[in-house]
Assembly symmetry: C2
Homo-oligomer: 695 residues x 2
């Protein structure tokens, strides 16, 4: 009976402890890279916590504009005021007031560019004191960022809502901070894209890169070539009206929208409507499988370029951004090899291999893109010495590839290491730096060519309904890596601030958490899913590679038709419960088993996990979707029981018998194997306990 009590208490103790640890971190350093006691993400380049009280946020809170003003800023202030209401519940007036009367005064020097440009000044200065706040920036871009910072500063306190007294000087480390959303492999609805834009604004990402076409779907209506969507989208595409609305929505939040139309490979969906574009003979239908496929555009026919000129012309006029992404990745060359005319063309033009042929294609496409006043962006493969220096390379190959491109004079973006669909931890993404060690190898000028990076959400295993949970909050860790000074590296602090962002995003209307609950309830056929949640919170999805391998082993393959409504699709990519448990175990071990607080936490968790299976099994049998997790639930229970035994041995200062230890290790190894495409995330920490008990 006492444990129920302890369990809940520990939960809160843990949060308070985490906050306390954060304070310790603060006081341990004096300035520079110590982590200030503000829950901001990304962390500003400079935060000085001022003495004197913070600013109380009350219903009379108001905003006034000084200096340069324009309608977009006015609308931004309106949205900001609505967000203050969302963050506090206070009914602050939606109208701006005269600057001299305002709680928050905004001073802007001049306009930003009519169409947002790469490398524009995004800096701002924010000063908050008990008397009021002042936000100043050279142009509206900095103001919009500063408003997001202010919003994050507002916290609930024992005396009311307040923002701490601070002076923040802030500007981004990299000018290009993006999120790529693959809307081709699974269609993502406009409302979901807009919620992503809201989240991007909150963490100061400034480029939404839409992967609009691939083998599995062509998602944007073209007036010139209507069959692209009529035959290549299963009826799931954006009209131009919808896309224009999204571009506007993003632009209001100072987010550039960069379209990608992948070519010459990854293009089966184009050929469903326009088979003559391809290097093989049709007919084609939309590809349902995942992988790299043979169909590729025919780079030898003038008609191909006529088509692309018309198409790119239409899209270049439609998308205001100065950059245009042509993909260019993963052409396997099989259709080219199989086509005698293409072989002959290669010989005629002395193109020694398919890489040379693709270079030829890319050069011609680049001329088309330039002609339509855009700068070309593409994946690593588009790089060749013949390309003009203004193109931008997006690297899925890694920092070395990027550094090499920079040495050759090309600008680049890092995406390798930022694939969110790989289901890695926030800490893992956080550790990836676009510079890596490149800063040592590159001259300052070459370093400037590294423009930033992009988190990427490839959609083999992402649907509209779990899209937000696969992107957020982990993308915020990438956002901080791209915005904050390179030395910002404290992972514990990052996780505390990530939790704050996670909460903020749901305030702003995102569904990265709540949608998972809806999916769990759907699987269970009831809303009474407490025990199911306990299990869900201890597991993580396996990597895509393992998921595909498992499907193969089971004699099937994954296709775009197969529903993403299993447990693996409805759990968060990273288990916060397991992370906290692991931190507690490390703390306990490091204290030489003296830290009673850590031990109580560990025991509380283990008891709950051990007992969960009994509560869950009945439910699992009622749903075909839940049956497969029955062994996972049993494993959780057995593991937790083993952990408790280990705890008891350690507490009694007994050494666990050899046979017991061997048996437990076998159990751990069995539980460590992915089941139902899920990893039990508590395995390593339980293993540590068992190992410790055998010493």
């Amino acid at each position: 009976m006492e444990f129920g009590r302890k369990l809940l208490k520990e939960g809160h103790m843990r949060v308070l402890l985490a906050i306390f640890v954060l304070f310790l971190l603060v006081s341990s350093g004096a300035s520079g890279q110590s982590i200030p006691e503000v829950r901001l993400m990304p962390l500003p380049s400079s935060v000085r916590v001022e003495t004197g009280g913070g600013l109380s946020i009350t219903p009379t809170f108001s905003v006034g504009l000084e200096g340069y003003q324009d309608p977009r800023m006015e609308r931004a202030v309106e949205r900001f005021l609505r967000n203050v209401t969302r963050r506090t519940g206070l009914f602050v007036s939606a109208d701006a007031v005269a600057a001299e009367k305002a709680t928050l005064v905004i001073h802007t020097e001049h306009a930003s560019k009519p169409v947002q440009e790469l490398g524009e000044d995004e800096s701002y200065v924010l000063e908050v004191s008990a008397a009021g706040a002042k936000l100043s920036a050279p142009n509206p871009l900095g103001i919009l960022h500063g408003l997001q910072t202010f919003l994050q500063l507002i916290e609930v306190k024992p005396a009311g809502f307040a923002a701490p007294a601070v002076r923040i000087e802030d500007s981004p480390r990299f000018p290009s901070r993006g999120l790529m959303i693959d809307v081709s492999r699974h269609f993502i609805y406009m409302d979901t894209l807009k919620r992503n834009v809201d989240a991007m604004e909150a963490v100061k990402l400034n480029v939404l890169h839409l992967h609009l076409s691939d083998d599995q779907g062509f998602r944007l209506q073209s007036k010139e070539f209507p069959k692209l969507t009529e035959m290549g989208s299963d009826g799931q595409f954006y009209t131009e009206v919808e896309m224009r609305e999204l571009i506007e929505y993003a632009s209001e939040r100072e987010i550039r929208v960069v379209p990608e139309f992948d070519m010459p490979g990854h293009s089966t969906a184009w050929f469903a409507g326009y088979p003559a574009l391809s290097s093989g003979s049709g007919p084609y239908t939309i590809e349902r499988r995942w992988g790299i496929f043979d169909p590729a555009m025919d780079p030898t026919r003038d008609d191909t370029y006529k088509f692309l000129d018309k198409f790119i012309g239409e899209m270049a006029a439609f998308f205001p951004d100065h950059y245009f992404h042509i993909g260019g990745d993963e052409v396997n060359g099989k259709q080219w090899d199989a086509n005698p005319k293409i072989q002959e063309f290669k010989r005629e033009h002395k193109l020694k291999d398919n890489q040379a042929l693709q270079e030829y294609f890319t050069q011609r496409v680049e001329k088309i893109v330039s002609k339509h006043h855009k700068t070309m962006v593409g994946w690593d493969e588009i790089l060749s010495p013949a390309m003009p220096e203004d193109i931008v390379i997006q690297s899925w190959r890694g920092q070395d590839s990027l550094a090499k491109a920079a040495q050759q004079g090309y600008r680049g973006l890092l995406s390798s290491g930022y694939y969110l669909d790989a289901m890695a931890s926030a800490a893992k993404y956080y550790s990836v730096d676009p510079m890596s060690n490149a800063d040592a190898a590159l001259t300052p000028e070459q370093q400037k060519r590294i423009l930033g990076g992009e988190a990427a959400a490839w959609a083999e295993f992402i649907s509209d309904e779990n899209n937000e949970s696969r992107i957020w909050p982990r993308a915020a860790a990438v956002a901080e890596r791209l915005w904050s000074p390179q030395q910002t590296q404290d992972v514990d602090s990052m996780y505390v601030r990530l939790a704050a962002v996670n909460q903020e995003l749901e305030q702003l209307g995102l569904r990265q958490r709540s949608n998972l609950g809806v999916m769990l309830a759907r699987m269970a056929g009831t809303e009474d899913i407490a025990a199911l949640r306990v299990l869900a919170e201890t597991v993580e999805p396996v990597s895509i590679t393992i998921r595909e391998k498992e499907a193969e082993n089971a004699g099937g393959i994954q296709t775009s038709d197969i529903a993403l409504d299993r447990m693996v699709d409805a759990v968060a990519p990273e288990s916060e419960a397991a992370r906290r448990f692991s931190v507690a175990v490390d703390r306990w071990v490091a204290s030489n088993f003296q830290d009673a607080q850590a031990e109580a936490e560990i025991r509380g968790d283990l008891v709950a996990w051990r007992d969960n299976d009994a509560a869950l099994q009945l439910l699992l049998q009622n749903s075909f979707l839940l049956k497969e997790i029955s062994p996972v639930s049993q494993n959780l229970s057995s593991l937790a029981a083993a952990g408790l035994q280990a705890l008891d041995y350690i507490e009694k200062k007994e050494r666990g018998p050899e046979a017991w230890h061997t048996q437990q290790i076998a159990l751990v190894q069995a539980a460590a194997k992915p089941t139902a495409d899920l990893n039990l995330a508590i395995v390593p920490a339980v293993q540590k306990l068992i190992d410790a008990s055998a010493k």
Copy 2:
């Protein structure tokens, strides 16, 4: 330690038990008003469960149209298919197929009216078997309803998603089934209104009545009179473009939008911009308090009617619906009494009192409304023998008032008893019938004049963020009362189906549950709110009357400026946990304390509640918003402890000592007093336990 286990297990047992009880109910009756084993809400007028298996819902699920077709139906099918995906996760194709190949064949006889009319045929027949499904209806209205029924039929089963084999013949009991949302007292954003429309469609409500103006705000832009919103809305209003979009959105879902502009009272916000309309001397500002206020339009000046003619003309042209609501309620007459010219006018026109004066006003306004080709609707006060018989009375006074109107030849709608902001239970609303005993007193023709009813969400204590939770799922109980046969009265069955609707609505994108979690986390400043949720789930908001009285007692008054971000604003209007607890207690008492299952449930809940306060107090002190619930948390704990003692006495077959009993009753009485505007909903059931232990 054992209790943690038991607790979770009981949770699931309870759900399974509830479902089991439902099945018992089914098998207890043979036909007619027995409750069929389908979780539909509103319950159709006739459901026959067929033998033979149900229809498996797989990714190849498809819809084909036969007979009459139009673009709205095609879009409805598209939305339906997206909703099938939301309900199952299956990627069903968004395209309709040929009828002969479809899983669900839709047969429509003819078009519905271009602008939806009161009393159009809404019937449909839905047949589902293992081989497929057929939905037929005279017109698209029935088809749209039938699609919602089909969606609710889909459930997760041990073998997959399936719809049971049924034959449903369905049509509504009343032609007018509405939801009134007050957007004046607190502004409700368009996206929230659209989510309400989604929910209305799901439960077959067909009228969205918008209370667009009141003393506290004028919410729709007028081209003729721009100062109505410029000076009467605090910048919070709908543009015509936005409102047109909502009307279209609702019309797509066969929901009529009826606008209400309240006059001659409840009109301070009009006068902020147009003081000359009033009976007093201005200037006026938006009213911030709640209540009935003096300002009223001047019924004696021709300019008033010129203004209204222009205004009503503009709005009548703008809103396509045939009905136009002029409010007409609660004129206190003080401004009329104080104005000598108005007094003189009364004498001249032999208007014996203010009621006669309002009648004069209403008659003139009715002529204006008619002139603009609309039928006037208003609250009880507009009824007078001089009014033409085609007006519609919306009754806040009750069934008798409504029956009397029907006897006089007037049509009417019931809203009395359906005020959702009164925070009553779903069972309470469910028990209110528009006919009451009127069917006995009225002739069949008079009965037909009772058109239905409207759930109403007055917004003194409803903000945009808790709007959905104050309306849903309880409005679904009203929807069933207005749609299903009068004999549909089983409250237990209603609650089981209400839970299913609650789950469905979040699948459809509503936030009636998830937003409460966001609000709790905001109050706590952390997402780790397990213990806070436990408390939140045992309390209910007090009624508005008590809330206002308490504010007065505390020396203040409630105004529209005061934030709705307290615990009372963030808990569900009805405690499901308390309801289930109370059912278990009744079951246990009825079993003469033999039902071990019931006892285990009761004990599990009481232990969790008793221990919760210890886990919670730390958190409560960190937030100014949570401090006030500290005594509520303590009361929950003490009450639960008392309940456990009672349980022990009963179990041991001992009689609780007199002194103990007296002490516990004092405790219960103290806990029964509202604190922080919250009622501890478990009080009556705990009192039953204590009383039982003293016997």
